[in-house]
Symmetry: C2
Subunit: 295 residues, 2 copies
């Protein structure tokens, strides 16, 4: 059996199919989600300690946001090769700033010496009605909370040494406010941590629908236009690069005006009967490639 | 500033002073605790995948037990250098068996490729009245839920190649049942994951009391007597070796008969006014060394 298949098997047993585990509790639901961030895979050279701490918290809060949940608190397991005061204080400051931003508390953690800098954040949240990935219906609109390309641009800037802007982009704001405001309207929701295309396939599979996406309607950051060498690179950054953490959601067309009042949103396509996922570009419709970020 | 001091500073900000973070919620309390277990520090050569999975879950459930809590569920972040089917299936089987044992659910997790096998388990629990470390009062009895030396013996057996018994000892039972049964009587409680001596100092500091411990009353596993080369080695295994995960607690003397009905327990000493921690051995009382396991 190939490693890829083992991974899939494992994912089926460990992943809950949604961004958080949902634990019904006293008439509401607790949400629990855990995320590992470590040097080799997730942290480019040039990311500051503050940014690393921030991002470790933000990825977990994004999972709470993706279910329309309110974050209560966070615990952190931190393994580091050495405990140097400046680095650790900056890291904690970033972590705490992100907690503060979403109104959650840093509740505690565990420390360990580890050859590779490794942070595992676990967020606890609350949702009376968690928005699952499985609720999208044919005919509904497909929407995003913001422009894509943030992490793709940040990685490019890290590589070219433009560290200040790169760090700023890397410290994304988890869409907690947007998730809470959109929850009354959304039929299905997730964050697009694995890239838009991969996320659309996941949403489609969970809901049993297809999607038609209008490429021209997919919003991207201005830097994507600036930094993409050609159209192919632009598309890669917009559709297939992971870790953007905007929310992807569906809603019935008649709820659109009210949803627009609640939060900024971008309609990028429509849910359709069947299983096909297509991309409309310059008037031509073709299959959307199922490519994206794999952890 | 020395690394040791940075670690202490960090611990003050990340550690909650108790085995779990306590989140008051709808008239009860949620408990949340996270623990990192990884190859270099925590997993001896010869530990089976089943044992590794079990232990990753057990260390977090032990923290829930230490507050008299009931575990609800667990999430796991797993980083591994490769995903080989047999290994991963055994690991998950061990993890699930430990969850099953304490009546908790494996709720989900996160997968990542990591150079070093790294497991971070986070347990969620519940306690109407969490037992803190700060409640011990002078005059009360100091007790243990079981004999010590389990991990010390296991590590010795791993080194000498007696893997079956070593693995068995390493898969300790988190004292969830005992914690729940003793909670109505205990004034302070913790697990002794850092060794008995270190844990006594932590309990003493949190409660503002001293302790007098009777060395002859500290129960140890029969293997400690067999495997300890001399009296010094015996004492090392009983008092100063970490990761035993029995519960250490205090209770008023008049509650002892009722507590004994509730769970097996061993009285090992008494809480005293002041700050001194002493060990009585062969009729002589001397200061208890503040040595133990440091992560």
């Amino acid at each position: 059996m190939r490693e890829r298949e083992v991974l899939r098997l494992l994912a089926q047993r460990l992943e809950v199919g949604d961004d958080c585990a949902v634990i019904p509790f006293q008439g509401t639901n607790l949400l629990l989600t855990t995320d590992m961030v470590h040097r080799a895979t997730d942290l480019p050279k040039g990311a500051s300690a503050y940014t690393i701490g921030w991002r470790a918290a933000a990825v977990s809060f994004s999972d709470i946001a993706a279910m329309g949940g309110r974050p209560l608190g966070l615990v952190l397991a931190l393994g580091a090769p050495q405990f140097e005061r400046g680095f650790i204080e900056e890291l904690l400051a970033g972590l705490e700033a992100c907690c503060h931003l979403v109104g959650a508390e840093l509740l505690g953690g565990d420390l360990d010496r580890h050859q590779e800098l490794t942070l595992v954040s676990t967020a606890l949240g609350l949702a009376d009605r968690p928005i699952l990935r499985s609720g999208a219906k044919a005919g509904e609109l497909v929407c995003l909370t913001g422009p894509l390309g943030r992490t793709a641009v940040a990685l490019k800037l890290f590589r070219s040494g433009q560290l200040e802007r790169a760090n700023e982009l890397f410290r994304f704001t988890p869409r907690v406010q947007e998730g809470l405001r959109l929850a009354p309207f959304a039929s299905a929701m997730m964050d697009i941590s694995d890239g838009l295309a991969r996320s659309l396939y996941q949403l489609a599979e969970a809901s049993g629908v297809g999607f038609r996406i209008e490429y021209e309607e997919v919003p991207v950051l201005p830097e994507v236009e600036e930094l993409a060498a050609d159209e192919r690179a632009r598309k890669e950054m917009a559709l297939f690069t992971g870790e953007d953490f905007e929310l992807l959601f569906t809603l019935p067309e008649e709820r659109l005006p009210a949803a627009r009042e609640a939060a900024e949103l971008f309609v990028i396509g429509q849910a359709l009967p069947g299983k096909r996922l297509t991309l409309v570009e310059a008037g031509k419709e073709a299959e959307l490639a199922d490519l994206g970020y794999e952890h």
